[in-house]
Symmetry: C2
Subunit: 309 residues, 2 copies
């Protein structure tokens, strides 16, 4: 039976990897945030998709979680010597994805078709689907004005306080081929929402109208894995943004944020007692090792199975 | 006093470097072949210009003559793993030139303006001018059909016999800003034609109508350095092409090829007795060391000075 996971960057990729070991990888469909995608130095860059490609292909840098293992940096050095913009790090090997993607997008190919070929070349069994082949751009409203996502995230290192977030283009974006079909498959075992940043990584996916509609209508159990562990996020600005938006940093907040889309939630064993008004289970959700990732994937699937009744 | 050099790839870059040491580099203007330029993987590549940039910036790979010293190759490895075309080698650091050039060309900037900025960033004093900002494409007619230059030169390693060569776009190409002015400057000391391949590297420059016209009309001494040493070319397919075109492999053939454009020719000391019907001088024209390059540059300048009378 298939399992669908909605995922953003590093944290989501970890759970997706666990899922590919907890069940047949060929039955896993990952629907990936493309709101972070942007054009830099003329190259089309898809950070979350690439993180998932590297993770599932066993090529990810284990220390930083993004980018390639054993990366070299001659390009950046030469770029700096030429006075090029160097605030976004592009590894030498990483450039191959960007150059090929850019070339094929310019030739009119769809992102989903390009990513399918990349995944095939790297013998990834899971299906990796961009949420949409249409451009959607996450934009962050801050006291410094509205910033492009990468400007906020990388250049400004998430320092400006978040006042609001919008997903330019989402209203008109169609889900990529296969996405709605995967969400509407009645034989699907579970739809998981990865412990990615709800505001920056999952919301862009949910902002695509046909995806939200399919999630609202599905009878397949939808289970989110909370990104909060003992009142903090493991990585990234999730907790910081919650505070900036005046929200309590808790699984409860995440649950309310996803609202009627959820059937259940996996929260961390360390979390304080919760007033969650939906079925939940507890587990150690910290994913340091592959075994951790498999354990969290299994716990999420178990919760989903119990909800199917 | 200024000196102009018309140049192609590796051999020409060596002489240009010698020239920059034999006289004030800021007074050297190199007019560079762009007939080899092509788009590969969506990147705009200018092989001869880049060879000159690397050579004059002291960054060239001394062993192969093209590309960067201490280059790394992670990009090509990743490209191959994705099934990308790998017949043209793109080094990791080398990609910085191609990515920045491509981005700026797409934004509508002229190649000459981009190259000027690259040269400035790398503190190159000599002026490097592409022959034209308009596209000119060298195409080689062979028994396998008409091949793009890089297809012939790199992919097929110059194996197919050359039947004819043409420069698509040259008739309509305007010389880049500064080119005709440099050639028409009456105070110029000499115009040198580098020992580059006459058919593949120099002819495209001469095929730009305003450049040919300026060379025909100038009263500045025009001196070619013969690419033939003892009946062979030092490197590349010059001698092979001469044979394929039914020509004798000699300085005489080179001289006849340039015809009325030349005022004098520097030929190698090892060449057999010649029937050249224009003023010439002999020197050891093999350029292995920097001292060799300076010596050849001085010999060419001396010949030009003697012709000025």
């Amino acid at each position: 039976m298939n399992v669908v996971i909605l995922t953003g960057g590093v944290g989501g990729a970890k759970l997706a990897l666990g899922l590919c070991h907890a069940m047949p990888a060929a039955d896993v469909t990952a629907i990936v945030n493309t709101g972070d995608d942007f054009t830099h130095l003329g190259l089309a860059i898809s950070p979350d998709i690439d993180t998932l490609l590297y993770t599932l292909a066993g090529k990810a840098n284990p220390a930083q979680g993004w980018g390639r293992a054993d990366e070299s940096w001659s390009f950046m050095e030469a770029l700096r010597s030429l006075g090029g913009e160097d605030w976004f790090a592009l590894g030498d090997g990483d450039l191959a994805l960007h150059v090929l993607r850019t070339q094929r997008l310019r030739q009119g190919e769809a992102l989903s078709a390009i990513i399918r070929d990349f995944a095939t070349a790297w013998r990834i069994s899971a299906r990796i689907l961009p949420m949409s082949d249409d451009p959607v751009a996450t934009r962050v409203l801050t006291p410094e004005g509205e910033l492009d996502f990468q400007h906020y995230f990388v250049k400004r290192k998430c320092a400006p306080a978040v006042q609001a977030i919008r997903f330019a283009g989402a209203q008109d974006a169609r889900a990529a081929p296969g996405v709605v079909e995967a969400l509407r498959d009645e034989h699907c075992r579970a739809i998981l929402i990865a412990p990615s940043n709800p505001f920056l990584s999952v919301d862009p996916i949910l902002a695509v109208p046909s995806i939200r509609q399919a999630l609202l209508e599905t009878r397949v159990p939808v289970v989110a894995v909370s990104p909060i562990i003992a009142g903090e996020a493991v990585k990234g600005p999730t907790a910081k943004i919650m505070r900036e938006l005046g929200l309590e940093v808790s699984a409860d907040t995440v649950s309310r944020h996803y609202g009627g889309l959820l059937d259940g939630m996996l929260i961390d064993a360390r979390d304080p007692p919760t007033a969650l008004d939906l079925p939940y289970a507890r587990a150690d959700t910290l994913m340091k090792t592959l075994e951790d990732r498999i354990r969290v994937a299994r716990a999420a699937l178990d919760l989903a199975d119990s909800l199917r009744g």
